[in-house]
């Protein structure tokens, strides 16, 4: 099994900008010279209204999209300078959890967790680790189940186990509770918090829901692609105040 070490997963964004054409000659700015730093092992949340640029930011950090300009440095690697295979290798150091799980429907729960390492040789027992991860997310005994026969919460748990197969230093979660009821969502957030402590990893979560974002130690609020607030709960400013403040901003 790959070793997990504390102190990994630091993230730095410098002037990251991304624009999309609207198809009618116009442009939408999804990221506007975004600059922030997240320390290794932190649990941070990107929040903001729908369309504020949260998902785009996660996609750029996860090397799924390339920024137009700016620099992203993850765990000492300048992501924006990587190409081709190096980019794919970087993606294997990052865990990504999607709102709609994005499981492979033809594969069982166990094989979905194994999917990221299917074409590669590892120095550890893949199947053994996948079983351990499924047990860690509360799905022991469901290894042979197909995603189509599992609930939304269970599917998201598979997706989380899959994201951890390579022992990532950084876990990116894009609206991980967006398709779940509140009780299941709370369970998923508890799970992420527990796994972060166990695996010594950095978590960056995107959610439009202030209640969800408030589970993080730090909230970076985006508005029209730019950072509008960077908030950390303190003794003077409890979480409830922050949630109220963000909810009022919309």
């Amino acid at each position: 099994m790959p070793a997990s070490a504390p102190g990994r997963g630091a993230l730095e964004l410098r002037g990251v900008t991304k624009r999309y054409g609207t198809g009618q000659g116009g442009q939408i700015t999804a990221a506007d010279a975004v600059t922030f730093t997240i320390e290794a092992g932190a649990f941070a949340a990107l929040t903001g209204a729908s369309g504020s640029g949260k998902s785009t930011m996660l996609h750029m950090i996860g090397a799924i999209e390339r920024p137009d300009s700016g620099t992203i440095i993850s765990d000492g690697t300048q992501v924006t300078a990587l190409r081709s295979n190096a980019l794919a290798d970087y993606r294997r150091t990052v865990g990504f959890v999607f709102q709609r799980y994005n499981l492979l429907p033809a594969l069982t729960a166990l094989d979905n967790v194994l999917a990221p390492v299917l074409p590669y040789r590892t120095g550890w027992d893949k199947r053994d680790r996948a079983r351990q991860l499924l047990a860690a997310v509360g799905l022991a005994g469901r290894e042979r189940s197909l995603p189509s026969r599992m609930s939304g919460g269970e599917q998201q748990r598979i997706a989380i186990a899959r994201a951890l197969i390579n022992t990532p230093a950084l876990l990116l979660a894009d609206e991980p509770t967006g398709n779940l009821d509140s009780a299941t969502a709370a369970g998923i957030l508890d799970l992420l918090a527990r796994l972060r402590a166990e695996h010594h990893m950095t978590i960056l979560l995107a959610s439009h829901d202030p209640q969800v974002a408030a589970r993080a130690e730090r909230m970076i609020r985006l508005r029209d692609g730019a950072v509008s607030d960077d908030i950390q709960p303190t003794a003077d400013r409890p979480v409830e105040d922050i949630i109220r403040h963000i909810s009022q901003l919309g």
């Binding site: 865990g95 299917l118 197909l146």
Partner: protein, 420 residues
């Protein structure tokens, strides 16, 4: 006894001093005439021979036998015992059968028609596959139309009408290309004849679209929200890229079958032609028949069989392309968790290769069976030809799937991952 000689021997034959016997008064029994300008067994040569035969009969009153294309073949003859002691004998004599070449020519003409029909069959499969994918891609739209009250007949007619329109456009384009192309190749294709491509293209498009249109007519709002590629019913455990490719091929069995059938038809035609030209030459016991058959495999037949095989390979590439399109979100997910581009490309090209090998094996088997049936034997060379056809099918399919595999890099990963 026959004596074959030239006209310069006539004075000697008519002089009773030199030539006596039963037919001394009429020593010439047969005059063999070779017609100038006859090169091979083509239609023009046949007409020339017929015209000359007619003129000889009219001007001389002689009986005329056309022996062009005759084939001596061994016939076993039983001789009864003679009255004065000779025992019964079984003899083998070469009897000449007239008109064999004509029969072969007619068969060859039918072969050409069959080959071009096969091209159209592959085209129908091609259209059917594309139309099925299009209907699948529009399942939401069709489901909504059904929900708002469109009748099944209307949905059916809509899809068939669209395909007929595409067929019309394709036919007009084909006609426009056919005129200059045939002129360039020295063929006779008048604009009127070229326009025959229009009804043929419409017919191909409509026939190919009947099944997808029927499926479209059965659209309902519930089916419209189902995923385009169904999940499997049984659990599978792929251990690597090849086994995952096999699993993916099995997820769309109808489409896979169309790819296999399209390629099999082309490979079967190529195998049969190869077998006829290579394996049968000189194998049919010295008879002219074998040579006649081999001579009659014309270049245009190879062009037709080659075109059918190429279309089959393109059909497989189309299957791979449609699979990529429908499973784009899955492929984007794989990329997001670190699959290299090479691994993704290997996955989709393996899917194409699996279909290609199955189609090639099926086609070579069919071609082998057809050729063996034609010859009444299965020479070892035929097996070598079949193996070569399988290899050729696999190679052209792999080459054809490189094109859709190249599209992988253009997948809008972020968009797909957000939409899934």
């Amino acid at each position: 006894m026959n004596l074959i000689t030239t006209l310069s021997a006539l004075p000697a034959l008519e002089n009773t001093r030199f030539f006596t016997g039963v037919h001394a008064a009429d020593p010439i029994s047969v005059i063999q005439v070779r017609v100038a300008g006859v090169a091979g067994p083509g239609a023009l040569s046949r007409e020339r021979v017929n015209a000359v035969a007619q003129q000889i009969a009219q001007r001389t009153g002689l009986d005329v036998d056309i022996v062009d294309g005759s084939s001596p073949s061994p016939v076993t003859v039983d001789m009864p015992a003679g009255k004065f002691g000779p025992p019964p004998l079984t003899l083998s004599e070469n009897w000449v059968k007239k008109g064999v070449a004509l029969l072969i020519l007619n068969a060859v003409d039918k072969t050409s028609v069959a080959l071009f029909t096969l091209i159209l069959v592959v085209c129908v499969l091609f259209v059917g596959n594309a139309a099925t994918a299009a209907v699948r891609g529009r399942r939401r739209e069709l489901g909504v139309l059904a929900a708002v009250g469109w009748r099944r007949s209307r949905l059916f007619a809509t899809v068939v009408g669209e395909l007929a329109g595409i067929g019309l456009a394709a036919g007009l384009l084909a006609a426009a290309i056919a005129v200059p192309a045939s002129a360039g190749l020295g063929l006779d294709a008048s604009p009127g004849r070229a326009l025959l491509a229009v009804p043929v293209a419409i017919a191909v498009a409509v026939v190919g679209g009947l099944l997808p249109a029927w499926r479209a007519a059965r659209a309902d709002p519930v089916s419209s929200v189902r995923p385009p590629v169904l999940a499997v019913r049984r659990a599978h455990h792929p251990r690597g890229i090849t086994s995952l490719a096999l699993l993916n091929v099995a997820r769309t069995p109808g489409r896979t079958l169309i790819g296999v059938a399209s390629l099999a038809i082309g490979i079967a035609a190529l195998t049969m032609l190869d077998a006829v030209t290579v394996a049968f030459r000189g194998q049919i016991a010295g008879s002219l028949l074998g040579n006649a058959v081999t001579v009659q495999v014309r270049g245009v037949d190879y062009a037709a069989a080659g075109a059918t095989a190429a279309l089959g390979a393109l059909a497989v590439a189309d299957v791979v392309f449609l699979n990529i399109r429908e499973r784009a979100a899955e492929l984007a997910t794989m990329r997001s968790f670190g699959w290299r581009e090479g691994a993704l490309a290997r996955l989709v090209t393996t899917e194409g290769a699996v279909i290609g090998v199955i189609g090639s094996l099926a086609g070579a088997g069919l071609g082998l069976a057809g050729a063996a049936w034609l010859a009444g034997q299965l020479p070892a060379r035929l097996l070598a030809i079949a193996a070569a056809a399988v290899a050729a099918g696999a190679v052209i399919t792999a080459a054809a799937t490189l094109l859709p595999a190249a599209l992988l890099r253009r997948l809008p990963a972020a968009h797909l991952l957000a939409e899934e």
